[in-house]
């Protein structure tokens, strides 16, 4: 069963720049894949379409069997709750503690306070941050901040986890650690889409890779092909 399907998706911005041109692919439940390409290849636009920050000019983005074109107004936030997001710059709320940052998706979903506390502690422990739950983001190292960002993205167990250059600012050891965390997500049923231009890292992970160039999907490489 596919979690996300792009069907001949094009995106043209006002002014005429075509960021994506006739892109089609799908991600199965529990699958992890990478999207790579140079600057301006269309990676960010692809993420914006998944997040409904933008809408396609042509084609359809189908998420969990639902055409996102039909998701409007008050349904947009509900869709976003099904997509966990990890960013290169973490985007943590500076004046909230680690636990408060991680709890946000659960508060938005309307979980009980007691359940939220339990779930947050569980996820923080899983990511090795159990001792840092009261710290502010500014008191954490870059690697810890990134792990908090991941904890926030996975705490509500979304259908899809998207990560935009999640290892961009990390040293190779931390980057490998973060990637192994992502690789463990599919075991719990979460699909993972990682945008990265770190080809060495992508090769090491041996996962499916989509290559974008000037808005076009140039290649869709399977793990087996990548190994060759």
């Amino acid at each position: 069963m596919s979690v996300l399907r792009f069907e001949n998706v094009s995106k043209q911005y006002p002014g005429g720049h075509e960021a994506l041109a006739d892109v089609s692919f799908e991600i199965a439940q529990g699958e992890m894949l990478f999207v790579t390409g140079h600057s301006g290849a269309g990676k960010s636009t692809l993420l914006k379409l998944i997040h409904l920050s933008e809408r396609p000019s042509r084609g359809a983005v189908v998420f969990g069997g639902k055409n996102l074109l039909k998701v409007r107004g008050g349904r947009v936030p509900l869709h976003r709750r099904d997509v966990g997001a990890v960013y290169q710059d973490h985007r943590l709320l500076a004046d909230r503690s680690v636990a408060e940052n991680v709890a946000l998706p659960l508060i938005l979903r309307g979980d009980r306070r007691a359940d939220i506390g339990k779930r947050v502690r569980e996820v923080l422990a899983r990511l090795g941050l159990g001792h840092r739950e009261k710290a502010l983001p500014s008191q954490l190292s870059a690697g810890e901040q990134q792990r908090v960002g991941i904890a926030r993205a996975i705490v509500a167990e979304p259908m899809l986890l998207v990560a935009d250059e999640p290892t961009g600012n990390l040293d190779p050891t931390l980057a490998a650690e973060i990637m192994s965390l992502f690789a463990s997500m599919p075991e719990r049923g979460t699909s993972v889409l990682v945008v990265s231009h770190d080809l060495a890292l992508i090769k090491r992970m041996k996962k499916r890779v989509l290559i974008l160039d000037h808005g076009k999907l140039m290649d869709d490489i399977s793990p087996a092909d990548l190994a060759e």
Partner: protein, 317 residues
């Protein structure tokens, strides 16, 4: 939600919509209080400006109410003062009073002799020594006529009497006072609308600055799936807080002003033989005022956040 997540939610049991609504309001309530306390100077300045803007029309309204209260007692005294010619003596004045009492449109006639008039004048004016130096009493007899109802024909009839020296009737003066009071009341409403708008803009601008400083945070919350209501709520609570506290401060200012003015005004009124006392804001009016101030704060924040959220909608192409 993944199957695992659904299992977790099912284990926790279903939540009522009201429970979620209450929790999220509580979250916004606490968050807004935190914002107020984290920036005490901004909060104080905003509340101070709002309080002055709100206190001015309320103060004017109160002043008018007191004036109306004072004018009401004047209006109730419908007496006509009929000063007789200086050559009319007391027996003739009493005979005239008896004639007037027989008229159907006259309720009461009181005779004030020149001696009584002089004694009263001496007591009220404080010019005892100067009055004592007079060789003879210059005051005429006075008939205080109370009509059954306000009537210009009675005044005209009194003016036509041969014994009449002067008829003093305050109707025209009262009409003018009523006109001024009506104008003052309208002015108070216009000022209330203008200053209310000013207070709304002050809150709106403060909330706008708060939104600007939290743009990034709002963007993150939107990406995490926060609804417009969730994002808007803390700002709306913030606006309502500003309005409520500014309203309370405005009331405090007016109570202080009333306290400062009450005693000297009472002394002034007593010197004129009046029992007039300054009346302040009654509890019902104070509650209504606080509610109105809160609504102004709430509305200002609601308008500004609404405008901001409309700008952050996904591009529709």
């Amino acid at each position: 939600m993944t199957a695992q997540s659904q299992a977790n939610t099912a284990a926790a049991g279903p939540r009522s919509g009201f429970g979620i609504w209450l929790d999220q309001h509580l979250y916004s309530f606490v968050a807004s209080l935190g914002r107020v306390l984290r920036r005490p100077w901004t909060t104080l300045l905003t509340i101070g400006v709002m309080a002055v803007a709100l206190a001015l029309p309320l103060g004017l309204g109160l002043a008018l109410d007191n004036l109306r209260h004072f004018a009401g007692s004047v209006e109730q005294s419908r007496e006509i003062d009929l000063f007789l010619k200086p050559d009319i003596d007391v027996p003739r004045a009493q005979a005239l009073a008896a004639e007037l009492r027989s008229r159907g449109d006259v309720a009461k006639v009181e005779v004030r002799t020149p001696d009584e008039g002089l004694a009263e004048f001496r007591a009220r004016s404080g010019l005892g020594d100067a009055i004592g130096a007079l060789e003879e009493n210059p005051l005429p007899c006075l008939l205080i006529v109370t009509p059954r109802e306000a009537s210009s024909t009675l005044v005209a009839a009194l003016e036509r009497l041969p014994e009449t020296g002067l008829v003093q009737h305050d109707e025209a003066w009262r009409k003018r006072l009523q006109g001024w009071l009506g104008f003052g009341a309208r002015l108070a409403w216009v000022l209330a609308a203008l200053f209310g708008l000013g207070a709304l803009l002050v809150v709106g601008n403060t909330v706008r600055l708060d939104i600007q400083s939290r743009r990034e945070e709002i963007g993150v919350l939107q990406l995490l799936g926060a609804t417009d209501g969730f994002i808007r709520r803390p700002f709306i609570y913030l606006g309502a807080w500003y309005g409520l506290v500014a309203g309370a401060l405005a009331l405090g200012l007016l109570f202080a002003a009333e306290y400062a003015l009450r005693e000297p005004l009472q002394a002034l009124a007593e010197s004129y033989g009046s029992g007039f006392a300054l009346s302040g804001v009654d509890p019902l009016r104070a509650a209504g005022f606080l509610l109105a101030a809160t609504v102004i704060g709430w509305l200002g924040a609601w308008l500004v956040t609404g405008h901001f959220l409309r700008q952050t909608r996904p591009t529709e192409t």
